[in-house]
């Protein structure tokens, strides 16, 4: 497995060399700073006396900082989750097509590395990027809000890691698509479709009654069965960030299913990669 991690490390180094990291961190830092300067909270004896966002007062009644921050962390978790997914789909779409670019792929294949290791290393490298990005984004936001409100918690950071894990499943499908057709646009489109499909799959029990009983409903349920439950995981992440009760068993099942979906997509990509002529 060592070559896999070497390739993953190479991808991270390459991202840094391409100033990709710089762009990512600059973007996140900018959003955090704008938010940080715009938000002003007055906490007196654990109660939030006044809040101003972009100069506009947000609350007129005095509430405990914990109760207010619970809602703020909930919104933050959703922002990091869906914002992170959208950003990841767009920003990471060209990693796999770049890997497969003529000239570069021949060089990589000449190295003493198996093809599946090359693909798995790329996948883990991008997953590592997502983890670092989400840790930085959710960590910076959490730190900022904790300093301003006096409510210290690491829960939104864990929620950010859930978002990174979810992106892992989305990127697995993007990677497999790129192996079939070397196109950043197609890879991003597949990522977007998986995100939308995952949102639908997360609400499948609620949406199923919209289909007529019989073939159409059964087809909908069958089609959404293996899809990652993205909206469900987003809700779990938000509930966890806001210190609300989380159905742990349901969340674990969604996470295991997410891993299986990602594994299935990566295996399909490996299968195609092994058979491909370069």
């Amino acid at each position: 497995m060592r070559p896999v991690f070497v390739i993953a490390g190479d991808l991270l180094r390459e991202a840094a060399a391409r100033r990709w990291f710089l762009g990512l961190f600059a973007g996140i830092t900018l959003v955090v700073l704008v938010f940080g300067f715009a938000l002003r909270m007055d906490v007196v004896d654990g109660a939030l006396a006044a809040t101003r966002l972009f100069g506009r007062p947000m609350h007129t009644d005095i509430r405990t900082a914990e109760s207010v921050m619970s809602s703020v962390f909930l919104a933050l978790a959703y922002l990091v989750f869906y914002g992170g997914l959208a950003f990841g789909v767009v920003a990471c779409a060209d990693f796999a097509p770049e890997l497969l670019a003529p000239g570069r792929i021949e060089h990589l294949l000449s190295l003493p590395v198996r093809r599946w290791q090359l693909l798995l290393g790329t996948y883990l490298g991008v997953l590592g990027l997502a983890v670092v990005g989400s840790l930085y984004g959710s960590g910076a936001f959490t730190l900022l809000l904790s300093v301003k409100s006096g409510v210290w918690t690491a829960r939104p950071i864990v929620a950010g890691l859930l978002a990174a894990a979810t992106f892992g499943a989305v990127y697995a499908a993007m990677l497999a698509a790129a192996v079939f057709v070397r196109s950043a646009a197609l890879s991003a489109a597949v990522g977007a479709v998986i995100v939308i499909f995952g949102i639908i799959a997360g609400e499948r029990e609620d949406l199923a009654p919209l289909f007529e009983e019989g073939v159409s409903r059964a087809a909908f349920l069958a089609a959404t069965a293996p899809a990652p439950r993205i909206s469900q995981l987003a809700s779990h992440a938000a509930d966890f960030a806001a210190s609300r009760p989380v159905a742990l068993a349901v969340m674990l099942k969604a996470l295991v299913g997410l891993g299986m979906f990602a594994g299935g997509c990566v295996v399909v990509g490996m299968w195609k990669f092994e058979r491909k002529d370069f």
Binding site: E205, D206, A208, P209, L210, E212, E213, A225, P226, R229, K253, A254, V256, G257, L258, G259, M260, F261, G263, G264, C265, V267, V268, M270, W271, E274, R275
Partner: protein
Amino acid sequence: MNNAIWLGAALALFGAGAFVMTWNDPAAAERERVARLEFPTHPRPTDEARLDARRTLTPAPLATASVAAAPARPHDPLLVALAAPADVAMIVEAGTILRTPLGERMLGCMTAQEREHLEGKMNEQGVRWLDVVDRVAVSLAAGSDDTVFIVAGKLGGVDWSKVFVGATVERHPTGAALFTSGASGTSREQHAAVWNDSLVLVSRTAEALDVRLNRLRDGGAGVPLAFAETEEYGEIYGVVGKRALAGLAPDDLRDRIEADAAQAVIHVDARDDVLLVADVEGDSANEIDDLGKSLGAALAVARVKAKSDGHDHVVRLLDASRVRTLEGALRAEVAIPTALVEEHFTRCGDRTE
């Protein structure tokens, strides 16, 4: 590795993922349970036996009938007393319902004060109503005073002077005892008739009772029943006319129901899960088909809205509701799961303390 191994591994992963995410899913299990529910769409053997036992009223021979005509089949006196025309004609098997888990929970929900009041009333009147009442029925005619409430049961031992205290008593030509209370023309005016120690009819007008007592005297001969006796099954059953049906419908469907539907035949099975079936009939098969689709869509939209509003009990109710079209008629099926009923009555526990 060959193709089969790669693709087999991928399929196994997708399959395992799907299995894990759908396995032991409470929502899916509830959906399957609801799909297996047997809604009251036809009489059970016990319903048929019950109806046969209740067919005790033999219609009088019609003056126009030929000598060779076969003797008419006896009717259920309560159904004869309800009789058409009515906007709503419903019968509740009160005695049966009170002995079901639902009825026991309803009675258990009474506060100590309410229980004391009921006991006091029954002691005062010298009758254990919960033991003697078999059925309760209502016949409503929109826009008229022809509304009649009927109680059916074994009422032979009841001292009616203690029940209708202060009422004047007279004898109807059919032999029924008539009790009148309240000044004529006022809102307190009330008439009651006790027929054959098995039916008590209560109305605001003497005419409404007179018509029904005459029908009972004739054994229901020559007048249409409020609904066919074959529809007498379940724990609650009857018909709801188009005006009353439109009144119950959501605003955006009200006009369509009034235009397209003729009436709805209702049956409720309340033995365990409360299961309601409403068969809506109309003049035009196409219009009824369209109405069915509109109702189905309205249910689905209402469910999504309830979900987004966080009204979980409504979501669970709508989960178990569906609309089907059946060759020119539509059938709405609504199930109120036992768990939901229990939850509702558990909440009333605070009230009974």
